[in-house]
């Protein structure tokens, strides 16, 4: 797992947006072989989407051959309700870019047969060749998508009842009236997300620090479903300094040192986009203890 630490939300957003852009460009998607991207909603990805829109407006990034799958959607909320996840994705991303509407997949919370809707969603992911990169956020209780504490780590797309914490947290979008918040949602499962070839989680803010610590410094535990990434071969977490507040100092220093080694000792040009070392130059200078830990730096 790679843990990339940046100073604040804006830097985190820039990092992950640049990463997504570079991944798509490197992949060079076509109609027959599109880039399949899994996407979240909430406050974590807003900066990511702003930056992606900026790249698109600059002409640096086209979404023509990108297929997207969103993580979740409320049950029973009209699709054009301002708080539906369809509306969120439209306003924050889709209306600004050149994505083909047929390539956009969001669960339909008003489907007649919700289970069938979930099964079809999973089927569609298989049809397009599986998800190349699934981006997610994390709840304060360590959940990914709507996989609340207690969700099976091998779960698939299904209907979930929302935890009380989640309903409280979401009431701010529904006139602060918890009675207006939907009680159920369709969500991808933990297993669905982990099936992606790469998983990237955005974790920012001090209120997420405890969840982050539980997810990477303790065991795989379905009470903190993001902890499942410990078993993923290609996981990436991008977080800000505040989110590291509950981590051990040693953990933070270790992950920061990896970036330092890559930048200063191996050379960024010798490392692939996904962290694979392509060429290891012979060390001319033995790195001192200070050199190892003398940070920060930028990508």
């Amino acid at each position: 797992m790679r843990l990339i630490i940046r100073s604040d939300y804006n830097e985190v957003s820039e990092y992950i947006a640049t990463y997504v852009k570079d991944r798509i460009i490197e992949f060079n998607p076509t109609h027959e072989r599109p880039f399949v991207l899994g996407l979240p909603t909430g406050s974590s990805p807003i900066g990511l989407y702003k930056n992606l829109v900026k790249f698109h407006r600059n002409g640096e990034l086209s979404f023509k051959h990108v297929v997207t799958f969103n993580m979740d959607e409320y049950v029973g909320l009209p699709r054009d309700h301002p708080e539906s996840y369809h509306s969120f994705m439209w306003h924050h991303l889709f209306k600004h870019i050149d994505i083909d509407p047929n390539n956009v997949n969001i669960l339909n919370g008003n489907a007649e047969d919700l289970s069938e809707e979930c099964a079809k969603f999973e089927e569609k992911m298989k049809e397009v060749g599986g998800v190349e990169l699934f981006i997610g956020g994390i709840g304060p209780d360590g959940h990914i998508a709507f996989n609340e504490p207690g969700s099976s780590l091998m779960s698939r797309t299904r209907v979930k009842t929302l935890a009380y914490d989640t309903i409280l947290a979401n009431s701010r979008f529904f006139d602060n009236d918890i009675n207006k918040v939907p009680r159920m949602a369709l969500t991808v499962g933990v297993g669905t997300v982990m099936d992606a070839r790469e998983v990237a989680i955005i974790i920012t803010g001090a209120h997420k620090a405890f969840a982050l610590a539980k997810c990477i410094e303790e065991g795989v535990n379905f009470m903190f479903t993001v902890s499942a990434i410990q078993l993923h071969p290609k996981a990436l977490i991008v977080c800000d300094e505040d989110a590291t507040l509950e981590l051990h100092v040693k953990t933070v220093k270790y992950f920061k040192s990896i970036e330092h080694v890559i930048k200063n000792l191996i050379g960024a040009e010798n490392v692939g986009l996904q962290g694979n070392v392509k060429k290891y130059p012979s060390p001319e200078v033995t790195p001192t203890r200070e050199a190892f830990y003398n940070l920060p730096f930028k990508r």
Partner: protein, 414 residues
């Protein structure tokens, strides 16, 4: 599977899906950044709904480059322009050509809908002209939309005739039948009249208001010496507008406010008021006073006549000889009275903002939303809401018209 448009529908140029990005949209009394417009088949459609339902990408993406996007301007009082006079009959062919000339010529001023106006005229003129000025859709071929006709007179007060011909004026001693007779309203359901200017102090007018309104005509008070109580009676009976406020009516007097006094009515909703903002017909300070007292009632009109868009010289207005001088004043040659204006609607919008100190949005709404509300068409005209006709303009921050679109198609104005 999302609905797919077949290739057949794409062949008609109106069936292209147009997306407009990077514009600052004037909507809901504010400027909305960061939103997009979807136009299909000459209408503004809901982009989010279309995206998630219809599954096709836009055929054309237009970059508004940060300009303001406003509804197209509506001019509800215009007697002619570019040498064309709607009150003069030269034959059917000339009237049709004249209408086309005006409809196409107005586009460069950002005017996407207008109401051709006929001044007090003999019966024959109405019978000949009215059938040719029926509502006509605006588009790339036709130019601006014709909303119907404004008949200004002949049921007006002789003492306030302005530049009208006195011999054409009349009373309504026979009530509504006089209206039917002079305008040829025998085919009531299919007539072209959208607005009528009448004087409540003329005999028979007040009693005819109800039937006029039932015929689908919007009643406006003008060319009148009505007292405040006569004017308020007219409003109580359904008159909803004042024709060119301050002009062709008694001066405001503090004990006898007259028609102008309607701005101070409290027991009933105050009417809209058309106002000419060329700085000549109404002093800028007077415009501000009217605006301050009733900002939501302001409707910008040009009251333009044939000489609009033409160089200084002598022209006619309803058969009367007038002179357009270099300073943009138009006066009746015989008596020097002000006779219509030569201002364009976009200049009115700029002047209104300058004279009153109002916001850009209020200035734009006075030429879009308010006239649409008066005519009861605010769901399709004067707005950029979903379902509206795709008549809109790109404006810069000085309210200059940069581009004009009618029914979703750009009309060249260079």
């Amino acid at each position: 599977m999302p609905f797919q448009f077949s290739d057949k529908t794409r062949q008609n140029r109106n069936s292209r899906l147009i997306k407009i990005v990077n514009g600052r949209i004037v909507r809901d009394h504010t400027i909305i950044n960061d939103d997009v417009l979807y136009i299909y088949d000459g209408k503004i459609i809901d982009p989010q709904k279309h995206f998630f339902t219809c599954g096709n990408s836009p055929d054309v993406v237009i970059n508004a480059k940060g300009l303001l996007i406003a509804p197209g301007y509506i001019d509800m009082q215009i007697n002619g322009a570019f040498g064309v006079d709607f009150s003069v009959w030269k034959g059917e062919k000339q009237m049709k050509e004249g209408l086309d000339k005006v409809a196409k010529g107005l586009v460069k001023y950002g005017c996407t809908s207008f109401v051709p106006t006929i001044v007090s005229s003999p019966k024959e003129i109405y019978h000949q002209v009215l059938p040719l000025l029926k509502p006509r859709k605006g588009n790339k071929d036709n130019g601006a939309e014709v909303l119907g006709v404004h008949v200004e007179g002949p049921f007006i007060t002789p003492s306030q005739l302005g530049a009208h011909e006195e011999s054409c004026l009349q009373t309504a001693t026979n009530g509504f039948n006089d209206f039917i007779d002079i305008y040829g309203l025998h085919e009531l359901k299919d007539h072209a009249i959208k607005i009528i200017t009448v004087a409540p102090d003329v005999e028979g007018v007040l009693d005819s208001l109800k039937e006029l309104i039932n015929s689908g005509i919007t009643v406006s008070i003008g060319h009148s010496s009505a007292t405040i109580s006569q004017a308020e009676s007219a409003v109580e009976k359904g008159a909803r507008c004042i024709t060119h406020l301050f002009n062709a009516m008694q001066q405001f007097h503090h004990r006898d406010p007259g028609v102008v006094g309607l701005l101070g009515t409290t027991h009933i909703a105050r009417p809209f008021y058309g106002i000419i903002c060329d700085g000549i017909h109404v002093h800028p300070n007077s415009v501000k006073i009217a605006y301050d007292s009733h900002p939501k009632g302001a409707i910008l009109i040009t009251d333009a006549m044939a000489a609009m868009g033409l160089p200084p010289g002598e022209y006619t207005l309803g058969g009367i000889s007038v002179r357009k001088s270099g300073n943009e004043k138009v006066e009746v040659i015989d008596n020097g009275k002000l006779a219509g204006s030569v201002i364009s609607i976009d200049a009115c919008v700029k002047n209104f903002k300058k004279f009153t100190g109002c916001s850009m949005i209020e200035a734009i709404e006075a030429a879009t939303l308010h006239p649409a509300e008066l005519l009861g068409i605010q769901n399709v005209k004067g707005t950029l809401n979903v379902g509206a006709d795709a008549d809109f303009v790109f404006l810069d921050d000085d309210l200059n018209v940069v581009k004009c679109f009618i029914a979703g198609e750009e009309i060249s104005i260079s």
